[in-house]
Amino acid sequence: MSESDAESIRKQTRSYITVFVTLMVMTVLTVLVSYAHMPVGLAILVALVIASFKGSLVASVFMHLSHERKVIYWVLLLTVIFFIALMAIPSISQWDQRMLR
């Protein structure tokens, strides 16, 4: 739970600005990188890594997740596991089916 005294809020404010600038830089970076010619797999990886980095900044700083309590972490952990299952399995299934032919 974030502390509510004025000094810590001001410190947090500074980190918000820092994160904002970082996010801007990363946004420009991801657009520029997309113009570079690279194999599709690599392009996807790079784009996802940058997006994940940006996303984790938003989550940990703007959404205060880095100060948050265990109960929230547990909810998110469960969600992440099922999210991965939902993302991965249909596509793996498609790949697996193709291998039969």
Binding site: L78, L86, I89, W95, L100
Partner: protein, 588 residues
């Protein structure tokens, strides 16, 4: 009869007194009180269950006596001369499944029982978000009305199975679009409701009520809510995609080059019917655990109370249902073994499916062992709870060959599947729900239901449930397919087992008649049932021991209880009574 206790709960130092009078609409229609909302859910769900049952009774006429005019209802079917046409049969089938699962059982098990009992069992004044609770109910209501209205759409109601597989559902008549809209509202209702349950259980437990002191019913609702929260959105997404296909001409589920009735379909193509199946079953598998978990919870409460001893293996049961909830997210493609799946996927899902049978067995075994050395009171709730055990066992065991791909080759899409899941849901879950109604009726109303009418309800129901579903397993093993309006009459391999159809249909209609005793009992007991105090069953859990019957309108308890012991301290050695309530400090 008082469904609302007008005494106001003692304020706990806040200085705000809730003595303002609420108008009729705010008290009984747009109520934010979990007890009223629970009753709303319960009444609405029971009506839907009855309607869904009626649809089934019509289906069973067509199965037993295909192409013959159906009595009574036939007068409404003028266009077909009183006969249930195959297209109508398909509508009855799709809507029977949809209504029973989404409008009947889940709202009753979670919306009604969960809403009413959980706050009481954890010593809370209400759910965490009362306004959200009300919104959840009305969203469900709207979804239900939409679903029913689809019968009047041109072309009729949804008719592509409750599973709505494309491409068929993509090109089905308007009723399917209404089904999708209805699902949107139902899913929103469930997701918001599950949020409410989770926060309530995590945050509003009374002082001293640690996790391992929770009544098992609350654990069951807790896991159920996680399933609803995280699984339903996948169906929401799928419903949006199917709506786009139907309304915006997209091809999410339409493969390229699809030809329908000799005509090439003029769409972009490139879609995948399997995509729907993945998204649908991602929800629908956890959904079946949503159907059974509250039933486990109710049966556990009733058994503990009527054996006068603590549940055997409470801790194991808790770990088992938690593990079950987790596993339920990674077994879904066992519904898709016949889609040309590769061996990697098939192996993975067979394995997870076999593993997931273990926690169910643990729970069932613990409940059965709980009967050992017990002083069993054969009350009506206990009769239903006891019957649940072997019925669920049959349902669970018949699931095993379905979860193994080689056997599923033969059994997929046969009546064996229908027999399997109906065993679990009908003499399984619905019996548990009946047990719950007979059990908690005195808490809601301060009166007991008639035991005699309860027996008249129970015994024939038990008999006829088996009369319907056991032969269904036989027919399925013979290879008779599901969703056939004539019950397999046109297939030669079905001929040896066709004679069961009439037997099963008669069982179904007699099952319907057996429910009359229940309906009469419900209404009669409201006015004439034996009046009882706050704890007629001599139970230990907070809803019985610490709250009046019915509980206080605002706040449930005269004073916030503090919990000092586990949920099932029955027959404590040295205690003067054979039960010690959870909030009692000293052993009497």
């Amino acid at each position: 009869m008082a469904l609302v206790d007008e005494r106001v709960a003692h304020e706990h130092g806040h200085g705000e007194a809730h003595h303002h009078e609420l108008g009729f609409w705010q008290k009984y229609v747009f109520s934010q009180d979990h007890k009223v909302i629970g009753i709303q859910y319960g009444f609405t769900a029971l009506c839907f269950l009855l309607f869904g049952f009626t649809l089934m009774m019509m289906m069973r006429w067509s199965i037993a006596y295909p192409n013959q005019p159906i009595p009574l209802v036939g007068k409404l079917l003028k266009a077909s001369g009183g006969i249930i046409a195959p297209e109508l049969y398909n509508q009855l089938g799709a809507m029977h499944g949809t209504i029973m699962v989404f409008l009947g059982i889940v709202p009753l098990a979670v919306g009604a029982f969960g809403n009413y009992v959980v706050p009481l069992q954890i010593g809370a004044p209400d759910m965490a978000f009362p306004k959200l609770n009300m919104a959840s109910y009305w969203s469900y209501f709207i979804g239900g009305v939409l679903m029913l209205s689809s019968f009047f759409a041109p072309g009729g109601a949804a008719q592509s199975g409750w599973t709505s597989y494309p491409p068929l559902s993509d090109i089905a008549p308007t009723g399917q679009t209404i089904w999708l809209f209805g699902m949107l509202f139902l899913i929103i209702s469930s997701v918001l409701g599950s949020m409410n349950f989770l926060v309530t259980i995590i945050q509003l437990r009374a002082p001293g009520l640690t996790w391992m002191r929770l009544p098992f019913f609350v654990w069951a609702q807790f896991v159920t809510s996680f399933l609803l929260l995280l699984a339903f959105p996948a169906l929401q997404a799928a419903a949006v995609l199917q709506m786009m296909d139907r309304l915006a001409g997209t091809s999410f589920f339409l493969p390229s080059g699809l030809v329908i009735s000799g005509q090439q379909l003029h769409v972009a193509g490139g879609g995948s019917p399997l995509l729907w199946q993945h998204l649908f079953w991602f929800l629908a598998h956890p959904e079946v655990y949503v159907l059974i978990l509250p039933a486990f919870g109710i049966v556990a409460e009733v058994i503990a109370n009527n054996t006068r001893k603590p549940l055997w293996g409470y801790r194991s049961m808790v770990y088992a249902v938690s593990f079950l909830g987790f596993m339920s997210f990674i077994v879904w493609a066992h519904h898709m073994f016949m889609t040309g799946m590769g061996t990697v996927m098939s192996t993975f899902f067979q394995t997870t499916t076999m593993i997931i049978s273990i926690p169910s067995v643990i729970v069932l075994t613990a409940l059965i062992i709980s009967l050992w050395g017990a002083s069993i009171r054969y009350t009506v709730p206990m009769l239903f709870a006891l019957a649940f055990l072997p019925m669920f066992a049959i349902g669970g065991l018949t699931g095993l060959p379905l979860g193994l791909a080689p056997a599923d080759i033969h059994l997929h899409d046969t009546l064996y599947v229908i027999g399997h899941f109906h065993y679990v849901v009908a003499p399984g879950t619905i019996f548990a729900l009946f047990a719950g109604i007979y059990y908690w009726f005195p808490k809601l109303t301060g009166r007991k239901m008639s035991s005699l009418l309860g027996q008249i309800h129970f015994w024939p129901s038990f008999l006829f449930m088996n009369g319907i579903f056991f032969p269904m397993l036989i027919q399925g093993l013979a290879g008779v397919q599901r969703r056939l309006y004539d019950g397999g009459a046109s297939y030669s391999h079905a001929q040896p087992v066709l004679h069961w159809n009439a037997f099963m249909s008669v069982s179904a209609w007699l099952l319907g008649l057996s429910q009359i005793a229940f309906i009469i009992n419900l209404f009669w007991s409201l006015k004439k049932g034996e009046k009882v105090g706050s704890n007629p069953w001599d139970a230990t859990t907070l809803e019985w021991a610490a709250a009046p019957s019915p509980p206080i309108a605002h706040g449930n308890f005269v004073e916030v209880p503090t919990v000092h012991r586990g949920p099932y301290d029955y027959s404590l050695p040295g205690a003067s009574k054979d039960f010690t309530p959870q909030h009692q400090l000293q052993e009497a």
